[in-house]
Symmetry: C2
DNA sequence: CCTGATTTGGTGGACTCTCGGACATATTCA
DNA sequence: TGAATATGTCCGAGAGTCCACCAAATCAGG
């Protein structure tokens, strides 16, 4: 590898055979992955982690150093035993920059994110839900302009996340009840041309999952589900080596799986969707029906506080809600043996007691052979979940999730 | 590549980085895959299919010819246009032999299968469901001995399929209500040592899916679900590039996802599992309750016949049953955008009218954005589904499903 | 203060692949 | 008979990893 960084071809993108040069990019990605997941390490340490010769790793690393992606820190004060002191490698500041655009009900957030999860620039704009398509696109592009302008040409890609059923390969939003203006939007293409960077469209819940994997509690973990529990419900499921995806890469719609054939009608047109009993809308409607706490104007936070204070009505309502949530979560256990859940959304404000309750109900609704070791956590990414997720989507696409070839020798 | 077939190393199995030689095995596998999926083809045709230089493909093919896996047919009578006539390549008879052992409720089937889906040897034995573990293993090994003895040393692997929740990586049967003697069985190891071949343990429904992909109606299709509808229900879902699998490769248990929180108790201990209303047990019990046709002794075939003859009771019962089945199937549509279903099991005897009914109900229960183009087929593999599936499991593991590296250049 | 054990990082040659272009071959069409 | 077209092969270049050494830095012990 010369110092002049020859423009690397990307044959594999065409879907053809693997070639020797693809091996290079795949392995470079593996190294960066390890660095992301398990933190800085010396060359020798990295070589052990990814199970490769030190020599090989050395050549990979020198390439990345020259490219300015990694930096070499000073030798550390020597850990234990003898030997030449290791020189840890870590990501350079502002390495692997990616743009993040997270559209949600009522707001657009925009940011630039680097490989360490640092956000050197960010912004948040209000977005009226009644916005038409053209108006919405104008606002989003304007917001992006403000944040991305200073980084033009340095973004490896832009992650655009939306609360919708979409086809990430084609970059098409198929159906979106939360922000109607998004349906059929041309934003992916518009962002790509405006900032000359590849754009990855992704569903919000799936982005949460990817974000948790690189920057949150999913770090170093191969499999877990990220749940969004708010006015809608959904899940992004991370399995060993990849994100769960449907045909053509379609995003999953756990919220609209049927859990009660005679249930209430859902906004999607079907009957008995999990969302009808698991969203915070149900919680509010039910509070009103039962005459609990704030009625329709209540919130998970208020209910949690009242339950903690001993309010029997609030406590009963939350117990029922936990059970409702547990139905869909347990279905993931049965279907995919997922045992680790990271919950996002308004519901995390219901408090620790609710988390324990939820955990208990999920265990109770899971097959005995799979119920051991189930964990339910509330996300700690908080405000940044959406943006980090959007950025991680880009990162994940660059780095791939190395597909361990399962072939035997032939 | 010399004629002496040097023993190829299998580094990638260790989980390390990819190396150039891994590229070789992956590409060889790709070629064989294309041959399996799309039938015989000339070198040039293959090169176009897998998107590679003719020269490269030539070297790959000569290796496979020398190894006796492929054979070169005579030049075909010339299709269209000018040019040197192509010489099609196809699998040699008895190429890529694998052993198949399918244990089901009441029977063990054993066979040897080649790459074309031909079964040069097969056998079927009765297997009492009350069998203890030791007795069961003895019977299965004996059956295998009879069929595999003549092929010792020529089997690339043995596929063992069971109606159970299992961990294919570890080769462990975790939970099995249909054939209790299987739980915790040592059969995988026993078969491996006895016949000196790697053994792949797999859940029956997932094997159905793989079998359909290589040898049945799933041929050339990237995504579909194979359903088993019998005294139990389940599904194996094939997605682009891989079979749906849970954490650690655990098999999926669609039959035990909850579709009615207040439903009947299931054999697994939970409540409202899909299986409680979708298995033919429900059909029989409900027939008895309603006093339809043969009551508890009825069958899908008899019900279908009576419905076709105009029996209103049979017709109503089948309609309800179709709707019950549709709930779980539509959940797969919502969750994974699966649109193509291949149904196995006793229910296929209910007839064409029932198939149409089922299709209609699945469409009705699917999200509008995903309901287009849904198809429901009855499997045509029939008697061979189990054995071909078991064999295809081995094949699939050898050939992998080439993981198209999604990385961009780095 | 020197020596050996130990660990880190670098170098050069061998090996395994695919790629790209040039070349021989076989068949059809004018 | 000759041009056009398509198939199959040969050979050198390029990319990457592996392996076996070698140099550098640190620590323990005499």
């Amino acid at each position: 590898m010369t110092a002049s960084q020859p423009p690397r071809r990307t044959r594999s993108a065409a879907g053809g055979l693997l070639s020797s040069s693809d091996v290079g990019t795949a392995n470079r990605a593996r190294v960066l992955q390890s660095l992301l997941e398990s933190g800085p390490a010396s060359r020798a340490e990295l070589a052990r982690r990814v199970n490769v010769q030190r020599a090989t790793l050395s050549t990979i690393v020198t390439g990345l150093l020259q490219a300015g992606v990694l930096v070499e820190e000073d030798a550390r004060p020597h850990a234990g035993g003898a030997g030449k002191p290791a020189r840890p490698l870590s990501f350079a500041p502002e390495a692997l920059l990616s743009g993040a655009v997270a559209v949600s009900r009522g707001a657009v957030e925009t940011a630039v994110v680097d490989a360490r999860g640092v956000l050197p620039a960010r912004h948040r704009d209000h977005l009226p839900t009644t916005c038409g398509r053209a108006e919405l696109e104008r606002r989003v592009l304007e917001a992006a302009e403000g944040v991305f302008a200073a980084y033009r040409g340095r973004l490896r890609g832009i992650g655009l996340t939306v609360p919708a059923l979409c086809d990430p390969e084609a970059g098409v939003v198929l159906s979106c009840t939360a922000v109607p203006g998004l349906e059929g939007t041309a934003l992916p293409r518009a962002l790509a041309t405006r900032f000359d960077a590849p754009v990855r469209l992704e569903q919000d819940v799936r982005a949460f999952a990817i974000g948790e994997k690189w920057f949150g509690q999913g770090r170093g973990r191969t499999d877990f589900a990220a749940l969004q529990v708010d006015v809608g419900v959904g899940a992004g499921v991370m399995l060993p080596g990849h994100l769960l995806e449907g045909v053509r890469g379609y995003t999953t719609q756990l919220g609209h799986t049927c859990i009660d054939p005679d249930g209430a009608r859902c906004s999607c047109g079907l009957r008995g969707c999990w969302e009808t009993v698991a969203s915070t809308r149900w919680l509010r409607a039910e509070a009103a029906r039962r005459g609990v706490v704030g009625g329709r104007g209540t919130s998970p936070r208020r209910l949690g506080a009242r339950a903690a204070a001993g309010d029997a009505g609030a406590r009963a309502l939350l117990a029922d809600y936990a059970d409702n949530l547990a139905i869909g979560m347990a279905n993931l256990v049965q279907l995919l043996s997922v045992r680790f859940f990271i919950v996002h959304g308004d519901v995390v404000h219901a408090g620790e007691d609710f988390r324990r309750l939820l955990h208990e109900r999920v265990v109770a609704r899971s097959m005995p052979a799979l119920a051991d070791g189930i964990e339910v956590l509330f996300s700690e990414l908080d405000q940044d979940a959406g943006l980090l997720g959007a950025a991680a989507t880009v990162l994940s696409h660059h780095l791939g999730d190395t597909p361990a070839p399962a072939h035997d020798h032939l």
